[in-house]
Symmetry: C2
Subunit: 228 residues, 2 copies
């Protein structure tokens, strides 16, 4: 049973809990509100725009993340590995709401811990505090590095960078629901040029083109191949 | 004298210390290592790539920030208001070093507080802890929002967004050391098109073109004007 008293020990496999002992986790958990949910496949448990009042952890199963561009001209789907934590950078700050929709893809176990309990972990555990702040700081540092990378002349690299900039995690399968004409507009080139590059990448088995969508089986391989 | 026992009270004007009382600051400071420096104009006190072992605060004076693109194809200068804190998101994380160079522009007072003391503030002050994590979270949220904004058709907006994406603070004067041909390459258009837009913005007094550089007196006005 996922609701068993030991299921939360899966948290220890997460970077957020790295270095925390089983004993320390028990101590932290004693004063915290843990809420376990068993969800069937196809259940949306977080909607884009919803307030982030809890930290959600996927302990078992599979979850799909859907994110749309601000004007809904394109949409991206990716999937959460288990165990995972969902967007710890949305618990605080000026925009404490979820920018994506989260839906189970199989029967899944979700643990949620309310904001107050997380703040208490941060207060009482040195390791948790450092882990949490490291995760936030690293995310900023990666985004800043991305912003300061100059644009390449190669359309191939530009398209791959577009993919890279519109996912939450680099690793794994991604589906971009985007028309070639929209992608061409983002790249500021003619549609035929985007089409040529995408077909080239398809012939290298790095992605698959379907009507209105681009399926990337492993984004990290695509990035590695382009050496960006 | 800046080294006076009360000069650190200027910290209370910073978002990082918002809500902290004078009394609480005294308590925190009692166990912290505060290092005050009076620097003449023209002194570089942080170099790009240097390890971030302290949090630096500008208490008095004026400081220039210089940041270069990864391949040094362009460079940006901006200036710090007083009081300011310098890049709290670089104290931790995977890349704890400064991405920019900081040089005094007049006689300045700089306070530095070592990482250990900052971690102790985070541990002992609820307000400081929340402020610090709010600042990191908000920065991520803003960058994410920027990434998901679709590209506009207008080259004018694209150029302004390029400026916006390559500064640390939106407000105030910025100088971009960039050749028109480099900017044209970033925009993926012909040099003449970039030149036309920049001259248009110059005629609206939103920027000034000089050889190899673009001077923007107030970036926030330029952004507001473009309504992006």
């Amino acid at each position: 049973m996922e609701q068993s008293p030991t299921s939360h020990l899966k948290l220890l496999a997460l970077p957020l809990f790295q270095g925390i002992t089983q004993q320390e986790l028990h101590q932290l958990a004693a004063h915290a509100r843990f809420h376990f949910q068993k969800l069937n496949s196809g259940i949306t448990f977080i909607k884009e725009g919803e307030a982030c009042k809890d930290l959600f952890f996927l302990l078992q199963g599979r979850v799909e993340i859907t994110t749309s561009s601000a004007n809904h001209s394109f949409m991206v789907k990716e999937w959460l590995e288990t165990p995972s934590v969902i967007q710890p950078e949305r618990l605080l700050g000026l925009s404490p709401w979820f920018p994506s929709t989260y839906t189970t893809q199989e029967n899944s176990s979700i643990l949620s811990i309310d904001k107050e309990s997380i703040l208490s972990f941060i207060e009482h555990s040195f390791i948790f505090r450092i882990n949490f702040m490291n995760i936030l700081s690293t995310r900023i540092q990666k985004m800043e590095r991305q912003q300061w990378r100059p644009i390449s002349d190669s359309l191939r690299e530009k398209i791959i960078r577009f993919f890279e900039q519109h996912v939450y995690n680099i690793g794994g399968k991604k589906i971009f629901f985007i028309k070639m004409i929209t992608l061409a507009k983002e790249m500021n080139v003619k549609r035929i040029k985007v089409s040529n590059v995408l077909n080239e990448l398809q012939s290298e088995h790095l992605l698959k083109l379907e009507r209105g969508r681009i399926i990337i089986p492993a984004l990290e391989k695509l990035i590695q191949k382009a050496q960006i």
